[in-house]
């Protein structure tokens, strides 16, 4: 079945935002990719603010679901954290893309308030999940040297996001692996 226009617009907008940033994509870009006129986009999303809020909201939900899938498929904390790292690496799309939350964070002044609170919520969700994963990994001994799960979570999320920045800037995911090597070596397999 063919994608409906609204979903096609969300997909195109997410890809554009993650590749070029909030101030780097326009309705004209989406119109060309989806194959409709740019005026028609306003029927589905009245403003760019509304569209941006919609893709950030959808992105958070998809990521929460992905974390649930990891929990279902991986038993140990170490395996779960390794799976999360892999997902952040996959989000790079070969060095052409970023996590939407990372991409939006450098454009704070351009963002509507809705998007900012979505970004805050996204990170809160991620930090809670990572902290729980460290707690498990400390208990089941699948992550080495866990002292404070909350502190580890804050450090890990920063590292994941920061590692994406260099990999994106140099269009080379190897830089992501480079930054995450030390953490990965703490995980049992």
């Amino acid at each position: 079945m063919a994608k409906d226009t609204k979903t096609a617009l969300l997909d195109s907008a997410e890809r554009a935002a993650r590749t070029r940033g909030f101030d780097g994509f326009s309705y004209a870009d989406l119109a060309q990719e989806v194959g409709i006129r740019k005026a028609s986009i306003h029927h589905h999303f009245p403003t760019k603010a509304a569209l941006s809020a919609a893709i950030m909201k959808r992105y958070t939900q998809a990521f929460a679901k992905a974390c649930q899938s990891i929990d279902a498929e991986c038993a140990t904390g170490g395996a779960r954290l390794a799976a999360l790292i892999d997902r952040y690496r996959a989000a790079l799309e070969g060095g052409q893309s970023l996590c939407l939350c990372v991409s939006f964070s450098t454009s704070r002044n351009s963002l509507p308030a809705e998007v900012i609170s979505e970004i805050v919520g996204f990170r809160q969700m991620m930090l809670a999940w990572i902290a729980a994963t460290y707690h498990l990994g400390g208990s089941d001994r699948s992550i080495a040297m866990v002292h404070d799960p909350a502190q580890e979570a804050a450090a890990t999320l920063a590292m994941l996001e920061g590692a994406q920045l260099r990999a994106r800037a140099e269009e080379d995911p190897a830089h992501f692996d480079n930054a995450l090597g030390l953490l990965r070596s703490r995980l049992a397999r």
Copy 2:
């Protein structure tokens, strides 16, 4: 003595780029802040590409100098790394600003080639300095548990840059301190 116009433009452009991103500032913004007409900016910097390359080049030189100052003032690896962390925190300007390298990295497709290679050079310089600092800190026992300085450097730079992202997005430097807490606790004082 009053700042010359060219320097005033560089200062204004750097501040704008670090606050709003490459695609988020315009010649009109700089003109208003510096107090000249926007056409006059082209006399000093013919294109936005040239202006951006100039601020990135100056930023790299200033940061290299700052690292030299740290080396001169701090004897141990731990003290040097702590000073670098403090500098990344100060660059936040209370949550209103980012490292220029961080800000530019999400706008790769809009950047002229000159700026991209400057960004690559900036990170290479930082990684070399951080790795050397870890090496020293391992030797003088002022940084705990140092195994591979190069890997530590890659992880640390990612963490510094990533920690800025959240602090900027939420306009609160406390989030930066949160992410860096674990690393800071490894440093002797």
